[in-house]
């Protein structure tokens, strides 16, 4: 375990674009920082002032309620000012390019930009053009680093991640949550198996160091944790499975399946869940479910990421003012 001082000084870089770019130590540092925010909040800290004077812009180019709310709340809890900007669609539908939109908002004096976009690489494009730090809040089917971090924090509060066997179940092909979880979990030493219909698991994903399974019942007895990914109906461009009923029959997490799994199976779901599809209400509200804990941890993880990026920005600014 990294010592507190190392964690406090660990940098995660100017931007947080994906977990693929981070080392295990950087991931642990974020989780440790999130844990310390949890303790401070639980010990009665209402609004902290770590990020006083910092302005965080939430640029959401894709509809989102949960993630945007979580980021807004996280930023305000640690003293930052927030500005929310939502816009549907892409550059083409607006006439103004996406980069111009971001530059306009940055010019209003923004320190950190939280970006959600339906196109992979959109936050990377911003990072090339903006002075502000960019935090990826989900770019299409690529990465969603804070979601994976909150999933890992939720697991780590109960079990050691190293050596743990985790199943990511469902629509792997269209899931940024899956990609970020794979990068993060592998770096922290977990075994990862992806499970779902063959149409929703690209065969080449094995090159990311994961196993592929298509039979949930076969893998359930040997996993410690299942993360039930939402079926991304909106990203599918054709028939990936015959019917929702058949999907739920083959891959839905039911109470019966939980009974056949290991004791203490951790059940995660990034939400918003389709109740009755990825999991039944009985499981969602049952003793194995960590869904609400994930939501709370999301707040701490986002507080941690924002504060680490703000810290990096302060240090960069200080270096610029005092050339050595």
């Amino acid at each position: 375990m990294t010592s507190a001082t190392q964690t406090d000084t660990m940098s995660i870089g100017r931007h947080l674009l994906g977990l693929e770019d981070l080392s295990a130590e950087q991931i642990v540092a974020i989780l440790d920082r999130a844990e310390s925010y949890r303790r401070r909040m639980e010990n009665g800290g209402g609004r902290l002032d770590d990020l006083n004077g910092v302005v965080v812009a939430n640029l959401f180019f894709e509809p989102s309620t949960r993630t945007r709310t979580s980021f807004s709340l996280a930023a305000r809890r640690i003293g930052a000012d927030t500005v929310d900007f939502s816009a549907g669609g892409s550059s083409l539908s607006k006439g103004e390019t996406f980069v111009d939109t971001a530059l306009t908002i940055e010019a209003m004096g923004v320190d950190l930009v939280v970006c959600r976009h339906r196109t992979p690489g959109a936050p990377h494009l911003l990072a090339r053009h903006l002075q502000a730090g960019v935090l990826n809040a989900g770019d299409g089917t690529h990465e969603h680093p804070t979601q994976a971090l909150l999933d890992m924090l939720t697991i780590r509060q109960r079990r050691d991640i190293a050596g743990l066997r985790v199943a990511l179940v469902g629509d792997i092909r269209h899931s940024r949550v899956a990609r970020s979880n794979i990068h993060g979990l592998k770096k922290l030493g977990a075994d990862v198996v992806v499970c779902g219909p063959a149409t929703l698991i690209p065969r080449s994903i094995t090159q990311m160091g994961v196993e592929i399974a298509h039979d949930l019942d076969e893998i359930l007895p040997e996993v410690d944790c299942v993360n039930l990914l939402r079926v991304q109906f909106e990203r599918q461009r054709g028939a990936f499975f015959p019917s929702i009923e058949e999907y739920a029959h083959l891959f839905g997490m039911t109470a019966e399946r939980v009974r056949r799994a290991r004791d203490g199976l951790l059940v995660l779901a990034p939400g918003p869940i389709n109740r009755g599809v990825e999991l039944t209400p009985e499981v969602a509200d049952g003793p194995n479910s960590l869904i609400l804990s994930q939501v709370t941890n999301g707040l701490y993880v986002r507080m941690a990421c924002l504060s680490m990026l703000a810290q990096q920005r302060r240090q960069t600014a200080a270096r610029r003012e005092q050339p050595a």
Binding site: T119, G121, G140, R179, P202, S204, Q207
Partner: protein, 433 residues
Amino acid sequence: MHRLLITDGTVIDPSGPTDERGSLLIEDGRIAAFLPGPAPEDIDAERIDASGCIVAPGFVDTHVGVGEPGFEEDETIASAALAAVAGGVTSLATLPSTNPVVDNRGGAEFVRHQAAQVPGARVYPCGAVTQGIRGEHLAEIGQLVEIGAVAFTDGKTPIANAEIMRRALEYTGMFDRAILHHAVVPELSETGVMHEGFQSTRLGLRGIPAAAEDIMAGRDIALAELTGGRLHLMTVTTSGTVDLLRKARERGLSVTADVAPHYLLLDDSVMATFDTLYKVMPPLRSSDHIDAVIAGLRDGTITCISADHQPLAIEKKAVELDVAPFGICGLETMLCTCVRALIEPGHLSWAELIRCLTVGPADVLKLPAGTLASGAHADVVVIDPNREITIDAARFRSRSRNTPFDGDTFRGAVVKTLVGGTVVYDRDAAAQQ
């Protein structure tokens, strides 16, 4: 009589002497003679010193995106003709995918009229295969031939309907014109932005599987066999297509293909930058496919190289990857990228490379170009194979700058280009401007 003597170069003419030191005599815009050995002192002629350089026929490009009419912010016929000669290209065929589409007599007449106004490369129109490039009804191919259409293509839009493709091959065959086809199955490529494989999985980007090209190339070859028509596949990128082409050519079918140099230099891993400059159609493939395409060039399965010039105003590329248009502005970097991809690793000799840039494409278009034989138009390129150049897109003659090679340094430069015996490009003079 105006005489010009290009002296002391290494002359590489795919239809004549290759790799022989000597001088090229040009009289009134036509090749008069190749004079082996040291340059004769007694000829009264203007002289161009080509010592240390390669003297070759000007290059021929079978498909060049010009933008005009309709997309003049990307390129005009005039700017394409000037960009071409800076890249050593002296004859080019324009893609008809403009607005309006070149699918009738008037459209082809416009291209010829604009081309006649400007210095630079010789410009020939390609006609559309189908009206409006909609893939439904044949364009007025016979009348387009009368105006000078050298080939037929629907550009980057595949002809999805096999029946239309069959009739088009039969009909163009009647005029001995080739169909240049972008072979890809639309249903397997729609909304894709890159090659499908590990990289697309890792990056979460929609993939275009190699099978999308293989399937369409196989269909096209079968239809060429059925009809006896002439088929040319543009920018082939997959090992499957190369295998199909090799077998088709062994059976004696009139099937040819080209490749563009950026497909040989860049693989799909560059997409990790999410930079739209790398977004091209067909997509940059993985290294196993690249190796197969290079093998196809080496054994003569692929006989042509094209820049696959797709100029795009830079603001069109400054958007998200999924909405950005496909294409690289390729004419002015064609030679140096070929040198890095093919000459430096030893895949092709200079003579073999020049063959792919000259007689290969000239045969597809049936143009009297790509030769230094006596009596031919003096379309000539002088190449310094050792000169280092750094790409500066800001100085492109093209109206567009969408190249991923900006700022890169290469070896191998076009130093002079002549069209009809007149110097239309001079690198050293251009550098001083």
